[in-house]
């Protein structure tokens, strides 16, 4: 009888696993809305802007229409630059440990260059990307992240990542596409299989989403590729993926543009919670996309509908 009960327990556990996608019994995580990034005129109506975080100085950078706006830890704009035409078309921004600003720029909208600026955004040096990485000819990055002394340049369309030192000198390169182990059918449409979200965690793992596969991928520095995610409307399943980052607890934080939510998964990819949801109230989200996190576990999330950048605070029980 005892054995029978144990077997029934296992059966119930397995059914629960299937029904709830492996509900997590660990720490609860709560996302609470704080405010939107603002200036003295109120919320700034960005629409799917680009974000970068300066963890050393608790500042957040927003790139929008070639302007870079800097916000303090209270979400108020404190500085802006980028309107100089000679800089070219700014695609992404990163901040190194010293507070110098790195710009990924396309000159004449064609040639990618890395511009090293001082903390005021005044250019000090410039390097052409194509000169730097002969291993990846034609490399056209559109994302750039500084983390732990490394600069990560990603081409989400080409599905390639290059790691350099802060001066842009090559350290490592990753060609993602062969790692995906695509089916023959998927290979026929590989051009549509595009990375969208991109970030780097504190251990140097590179995180990205591929919406048409409904998956979050985790690429470790030693080239091991893990992934999780399934399509669906139930909590913990994905509609249209946006960005992905990891918090200080190792949880994965994922935005879903279609469901208008921020989803939290633990380090074993178990779904924990979601928050945000579609709506026009301040705490709601519309088409959330890019996401960054500061060292105080504040999430900064870009949205559509010119709703700007919403800031949430993660707390843990």
């Amino acid at each position: 009888m005892k054995k029978r009960i144990r077997h029934k327990t296992i059966l119930l556990m397995n059914i629960s696993l299937l029904a709830f996608g492996g509900a997590y019994a660990g720490a609860n995580v709560t996302g609470s809305y704080l405010y939107n990034l603002s200036d003295f005129g109120g919320n700034i109506p960005y629409d799917w802007s680009r974000l970068a975080v300066d963890r050393e100085r608790d500042e957040v950078y927003v790139l929008y229409k070639n302007y870079i706006n800097v916000f303090n830890s209270s979400g108020m704009q404190v500085y802006t630059f980028g309107d100089d035409e000679y800089l070219g078309h700014i695609i992404d921004v990163a901040i190194d440990r010293k507070g110098d600003i790195l710009l990924l720029v396309y000159e004449n909208t064609k040639t990618p260059v890395l511009i090293h600026c001082n903390f005021r955004g005044v250019p000090a040096s410039k390097k052409e990307i194509s000169d730097l990485y002969p291993e990846f000819p034609g490399f056209r990055p559109n994302r750039m992240i500084y983390r732990n002394g490394n600069l990560y340049l990603a081409s989400t369309r080409q599905k390639k990542i290059v790691v350099t030192d802060p001066d842009g000198n090559f350290r490592e390169g990753y060609d993602i596409e062969p790692m995906l182990e695509l089916s023959e059918e998927e290979k026929k449409k590989v051009i549509d299989i595009e990375m969208i979200g991109f970030s780097v965690d504190s251990d140097g793992n590179m995180l990205f989403t591929i919406p048409v596969l409904f998956k979050v991928f985790i690429l470790s520095p030693d080239r091991k590729l893990a992934y999780f995610g399934k399509p669906g409307g139930a909590p913990g399943k994905f509609g249209i993926l946006g960005g992905v980052i990891r918090d200080s607890q190792g949880n994965f934080i994922v935005t879903d543009k279609l469901k208008a939510t921020v989803m939290v998964f633990d380090r074993d990819y178990n779904y924990i919670t979601q928050f945000g949801f579609y709506g026009l109230r301040p705490e709601n989200l519309v088409a959330p996309d890019d996401i960054v996190i500061d060292r105080d576990n504040r999430l900064y999330i870009t949205q559509g509908r010119r709703r700007g950048v919403s800031v949430y605070k993660l707390t843990y029980d």
């Binding site: 299937l18 559109n142 369309r157 051009i191 669906g232 579609y278």
Partner: protein, 418 residues
Amino acid sequence: MRTLKLSLVIVAAALITFGFYGTSQAFHSGGVAECGGCHSMHTPAPGGSFLLVGTDQSSTCLSCHEHAGDTGPSSYHISTAEADMPAGVAPLQRTPGGDFGWLKKTYSFTVRGTTTTEDGATHGHNIIAVDKGYAVDPVNATAPGGTFPSAQLACNSCHDPHGQYRRLSDGTISKSGAPIIGNGSYNTSATPAAGQAVGVYRLLAGAGYTKDGITFNGVPAAKTPSTYNRTEATTQTRTAYGVANTGGHETWGNWCSTCHPDMHSTGNYVHPVVEGLGSTIATLYGQYVKSGDMTGTLASSFSSLVPFATNSSDYTALAALAVNNDSQLGGPGSSDQVMCLSCHRAHASGWEYGLRWNMEGEFIVYNSLYPGTDTTPTVPQFARGRTSAETGAAYYDRPVAQFASYQRVLCNKCHAKD
């Protein structure tokens, strides 16, 4: 023990059925996509419709088909995010249908003391996508030449979001029947075997598809290269438009006239569509190279700035023409047809009325330069507020040397009055 085995079997079966990696392909795959990609069973938009989470249908489409952070033409994106279009920077996508981002590019310029504003809304079809900043046409209450309400215009006005229309193995179009095995739009798409079907070109609306008082009578035939969103700086992207009007098909002109009936030349005194070019026009098309240069040959005369409909309903033949490497540059025969898309892009373009070239001045190239506020400031009527980079982008990055030093409008590709 039997219970334990049963439970493990259930788990294993489920994992096999649903998989860890999944079997998702490129989402639509010629037919109805992953339901959860557009609808939410449990968290739809409050007060919304169809269990969509986006504010409206087009916003839902653009959740995927627009992406902030692009640096150039990118796969299935058909709209450039506002964040990526600062002043002086053109929209980035180069699909045959054009980039909806042009609708947001409003230009002002001053000629002889008079300032003119060219509203971005004049650049194409004003789809309504509230989440992405696309609003109703501010001028036309209905489709020009028709009654379709502008306030209802969305991606699904022309495209069947569920992709139900399919091309069967016998070439006919049906809304049901044989299962769709994949995309049917590309030169590389599979040919459906007996008992199979492929999706119709671009999931376009077919016979019986009704929206806000208008009903389509069939789908038009075409094929496009599998890599279609690309610069044409070195080679052209040739979409092979066909002529088919039986078996669930409709010609391109008739299909467009579903919403724009008074623009169609049947019964209306307008430029002909759905008519053979005739030998005179076809010959001129073949000879025309650029203003003042009629030395071309028919075999290399195709221009994606002035495409025509090949008089064929044979998808295999159309697929052979749909290339992006300039290996198929043959011009038209006398029975090939002029159509709406010969002059207009379906989504939007860099020019008024979604035209493929600037019709608002006599020169589209001036002094061997693309007109721009930076290159031709003394003749602002040709740049119309654009930078030369934006003008070049509107011509899909063709080297300006492909045109005459003082190139006239491309009506002349067929009419050769320059």
